[in-house]
Amino acid sequence: MMSNILKRFSTAGKISVFLITLVCFMAIFAPLLTKHPWNQPTGDALEPPSKAHILGTDDLGIDLWSQICYGARNSIAVGIGTALTACLLGTALGIIAGYCGGIPDLVISAVIDVLTAIPGLPLMIAAGAFFGPSIKNIILILSILSWAMPARIIRSKIISLKQEMYIKAAQGYGAGFSYITIKHFLPRIFPLSATSFIRLISKAIVSEASLSFLGLGDPTSKSWGLILNYALNFPGIYFTDYWKWWLVYPLLCIILLVLSTAVIGREFEKILDTKISSVV
């Protein structure tokens, strides 16, 4: 199924898949791809790119290529961790709300309504400030804030599926909730879950970069947003040549990663015919 989807991707989609594979490759094989540690100085401060440090060093003399490779791990971890948690939770609650109706539906729908009305970033900042910045906390907060999107879509899909004859027939034969869910619902809502999964990855990566940029990232594991934060806090970054490597590379990495996940999300929507990007 996946290879079929991949074949139908446009050129931009294929390039995006290639870029994301590249980032995943960087993240997984970071120890093999880098000769310098990501958290210790190995050269002079602010060296321009050279043979020893292919992307140069920052103000503490730490190799930037290493920081970017290991930083990819954090961005990918936050992206996939959040999307997976939120998607599983959203799918489960969406099915329960849609299938059971009544009080469970009322409660879950109310929570979805409230969560979608609260603006994400201010709450993330407040929560990050109160609970302390760590990768685990960031994933937790982001998951809690983002499961409502898949849950809402899946709930309405289940409600319409419930009206179909074959579900009624299955119920008539005595099929229970778990049987219908596994046999009938999951295959039908898989495209919806997959599309929201990819959408959530790109949202989570942006949110993590934003939080890190505000200084609420995990200081013990350097993500791309945190490199940006350090670079921008360096006095005179704009007036010296340092921005050419210190600022440009992490910036480029984030933009490319965010754009490629967004493009893949759109391709999925087009191919699986699941329009979920909400514009009012």
Binding site: A117, I118, P119, L214, Y238, I254, V258
Partner: protein
Amino acid sequence: MKYQKAIRYLLTFFCIITLNFFLPRIMPGDPFYFLSSEQGEITITYSQEEIQRQKAYYGLDVPVLTQYGRYLKNIIKGDLGYSIYFNNDVRLIIKNRIPWSVSLVLLSVIIGGFIGTLLGCLSAWYRRGVLDKALYSLMIILSEIPAFLIGILFLLFLAARQGLFPLSGGMKPFAEYVSWSSRFLDIALHGFLPALTLAVVQMGGFYLIARNSMITVMSKDYMTTAKAKGLSTRRILFRHALTNAALPIVTRAFYSLGQAVGGTILVENVFKYPGLGLLMRQAVMVRDYPLIQGIFLTVTFFVIIMNLAADIIYKKLDPRII
């Protein structure tokens, strides 16, 4: 069903106020431990009596429900507490920063909405042409890139490299203005890049809505009539099509006012623009909890009220919506 939306908004307000109350109370750690330690080492220890006195002073010696009641009463009175770091009323501090942020949000939605709608109309008119395809791809890309990254690029190339705009701040520090107009010019010059950054991000959404809406309108019979009458392109586009396609765009504008807040917080920090976003970061850096809570409450209320406005306007403009 009629009251469902109203109940939803009331519930949301209630949840946010409650969440704001519980945030510091479910936070890991003890404030007295926090106060008496410095960089992991305990330097001063409070005696039991002192802790009791402090708790009574902050109203922490009564049951949680009573605390909650007091908190609600304060919120209704508009009292947001006292900032530890700035040594001032949270409400006053926030009040001073609001004009900066609100003008930034307003300006960016107006600029972004205007340009986005214009391009959307063009795109719909030349549908499936080269211009349409190019604009569509460009707008999709622009709407996906986070605002603060675009802000950094603008700052780097337009302000630092070219020196066209001031690097940071809301106005020149310690400037003596000769006249009202020079003061206005200075503020406009400082606000231009942050507003432009946010406008660029807003544009994509407006463009997509306007394009969609225009395409729907253009398939209507009265458009064919207008074309058959031999009216000019401009007249057809802006008099006949746009007025009928405006409803979703206007709704989008109000919705955008709320949505722009997240981007504004970040962009203000890129340009060190003296609004609520910069204040929030400062408050986070010095862990000024009452101030963080105050800003969180203000910003969230603003967003929800804007969403509410979008809902109401949508209903007012289109009687078909129940």
